[in-house]
Amino acid sequence: MSHILVANEVTKQFGSHTALKNVSLEIPKNSIYGLLGPNGAGKTTLIRIINQITFPDKGSVYFDGELLKPEHISQIGYLPEERGLYKSMKVGEQALYLAQLKGLSKAEAKKRLKYWFERLEIGDWWNKKIQELSKGMAQKIQFVVTVLHEPKLLIFDEPFSGFDPINANIIKEQILSLKENGTSIIFSTHRMESVEELCEYIALIHKSEKILDGKLSDIKKAYKNNIFKIGLETDNQQSLLNEMEGKFQILSQEYDRIENQLNLSVQLPSNESREILSFLSSRGNVNGFIETIPSANDIFIKTIQNKNIDNE
């Protein structure tokens, strides 16, 4: 079985509001899977179904090949978007308690906590109360508590909110190293920058429906529109432009006088770039030639816009 989680036609209603409509997902093992979508799209509902906090009205969810059941809870780690800790409880006690709720023995939990606290250099916080810690510090504890029971599947809902860039980076590295060690990770967010760096696969959820999913690199390829950026050193820009206009579709042009360089953005009919390259190299020194690949953000916005247009 190569999927850690499979959702089949999952539908969930709250009264008259449909939170999820026939959503199907296949989350491969040992990968980071981005669950994307605007606020209120239904990501959290889907995650809560996976965590068995709520249950689907229709459809089914399989965890590691088995129909989702209560015993799976100890194999899933969940860092919710709305997260916090008991304010007046000591860090150590609290972490022990939460670890035991996940089914770890007290001794085992203690051992692993020591290891993680050391790893994140927070060992001296053991006897502090959460209310004495900063928000970022509390988030670190929260992260440790989430991963402590070494689950097969980790679900992070907006994991970087509340972290400064340095700590966000530490957490990012931890997530990547967990993945290296074989954990499958669902990463839910509406911030696209982090998706590019982390996710191999993505699914885009919008207005309760999945509108796009697959391998990020494949999606990017599919969304490529054969636009190339060109930087060409030339003395005779005007005649060159006139010549090019007959052959290629120029989207934008700009002449850099200092560098003596013509910057172009060209739309090609296909991914075939040999023709234009040979043309350009015969006319001058090519300083730059790059295909523009859409960012996850572009895809996100474009897909949702298309969807909205379709609906109208």
Partner: protein, 447 residues
């Protein structure tokens, strides 16, 4: 199951370690005992304050009536006018002045006797004065009818009617009140416990919501387990607190009484004094001891063991019902200020139960109102316990009522916990505006 135990343990420890809880636990007995001692001390002080009353007796009667006693000293004025006597009373700072004018017969003297005082005199003083004069008048009137003082003393012996139940058991006056007070104490204890610890449960739920830990926890345990663990843990903390209060309170009370040398009987003397006075000097000592034995016997006949067993049953069921409602309220709102609207309907049946208990069960423990309220599940834990001191079966609560009441209570418990758990489950993940009753109803239908 082990997760439930973990939750109970955490809730218990969190509650017991809470600073205000610790302070309350150890301060309350001191406050309570201090208050009791203060009241006892003040009562004693009040009794000990000797009133000095001036007597200007121009009549030939009442030579032996106004003699200095424990509570009052009488100072006789002689050969001075009423105006002078009044001045002296004021200047000497006496409590008041009794004036008995010089008249031809006792009736006339009584007719025109006065009591002068600075402020309105206390009822005790007046009662005593009037009793003295009335008694003297009766004696005089009867003497005129030809009765000797000895015969008069014989005549004035007090009387108590004999009371029996139809089964021939001897009954005594006032035992119903004592039973009601014992039952009432149990009922009141339940009410206080529900209100205090139900509130704790509610606040603990709100705390989990506002600190946003709730979703972390319910991704590990079922919301129902969390709710039950919370309720049980909090109530164990409550029982600990009550146990500490009772034990330390009792110890402190004994120490306090010993230190301040207060007679424990003085705490309960109030009622006895009045009746003792009314029956006058001729209290039959034998009859009194016999009465005390009867009271003791009756109190021992209250089914203590049965009461304790049923107290625990009603207490547990009643507390579980109410605290699940409190937990549901806590889950439905975001902060404590929003709870008012929901709490009032919860406290209402509790208050009703206490009032019905004190007014209806007191006067008629097996009357229709008492029966109805001891079957209705939201009031039965309190009202039934108030009825139980009259026994179970004949003369007391019929067995069928007791069983029906408990069955209804268990049924309600299951229903309420089910409803509360549903509201709780949806509510803990809802943030934002305060829900209406209509929305709460909708939540019940979410799966």
């Amino acid at each position: 199951m082990s997760k439930l135990l973990l939750i109970i343990k955490r809730e218990y420890i969190a509650k017991v370690r809470n600073k205000s809880f610790v302070v309350m636990t150890f301060l309350s007995p001191f406050l309570m005992v201090g208050m009791i001692l203060l009241i006892a001390y003040l009562t004693q002080l009040n009794d000990n304050e000797k009133k000095v009353i001036g007597v200007l007796n121009e009549s030939g009667y009442f030579a032996n009536e106004f003699v200095t006693s424990d509570a009052t000293s009488y100072i006789n004025f002689k050969d001075i006018s009423l105006a002078e006597a009044k001045d002296s009373t004021v200047s000497l700072g006496f409590y008041g002045l009794i004036y008995l004018p010089n008249e031809s017969n006792l009736e006339q003297v009584a007719q025109r006797a006065f009591f002068y005082s600075k402020d309105a005199p206390s009822a005790t003083v007046l009662d005593k004065l009037e009793n003295s004069i009335t008694s003297r008048l009766r004696q005089e009137r009867l003497r005129e009818l030809g009765l000797s003082p000895k015969e008069y003393a014989e005549m004035d012996r007090s009387y108590n009617i004999n009371i029996e139940t139809f089964d021939g058991l001897q009954n005594i006056k006032g035992i119903n009140e004592i039973k009601a007070i014992i039952g009432g104490a149990f009922g009141y204890l339940i009410m206080m416990f529900i209100i205090i610890y139900g509130g704790f449960v509610m606040r603990s739920v709100i705390e989990e919501k506002t600190s946003r830990i709730i979703e972390v926890i319910i991704s590990s345990v079922k919301p129902f387990h969390l709710m039950m663990g919370k309720i049980i843990g909090t109530s164990l903390a409550g029982i600990t607190q009550f146990a500490i209060w009772i034990v330390s309170g009792a110890i402190l009370l004994f120490i306090g009484l010993a230190i301040f040398d207060i007679d424990p009987a003085s705490l309960t003397k109030g009622g006895g004094m009045a009746s003792g006075m009314a029956s006058g000097a001729n209290v039959d000592v034998d009859a009194l001891t016999q009465n005390i034995q009867l009271y003791a016997q009756e109190i021992f006949e209250i089914p203590i063991i049965a009461m304790l067993v049923f107290f625990i049953i009603y207490f547990v069921l009643g507390y579980l019902i109410y605290s699940s409602i409190y937990a549901a309220i806590g889950a439905a709102v975001d902060n404590e200020t929003d709870t008012q609207q929901f709490i009032f309907p919860v406290i209402l049946p509790l208050m009703l139960a206490i009032y019905v208990g004190f007014f209806s069960v007191f006067s008629n423990p097996n009357g229709p109102i008492a029966v109805a309220f001891s079957l209705f599940p939201l009031t039965s834990p309190i009202v039934m316990l108030m009825r139980l001191p009259w026994g179970i079966g004949e003369g007391g609560v019929p067995l069928w009522q007791l069983i029906t009441s408990i069955l209804i209570l268990i049924g309600t418990f299951i229903g309420i916990v089910w409803v509360a758990a549903k509201i709780y489950r949806v509510g803990i993940l809802m943030y934002g505006k305060k829900p209406s009753y209509k929305e709460l109803y909708k939540w019940l239908k979410y799966s």
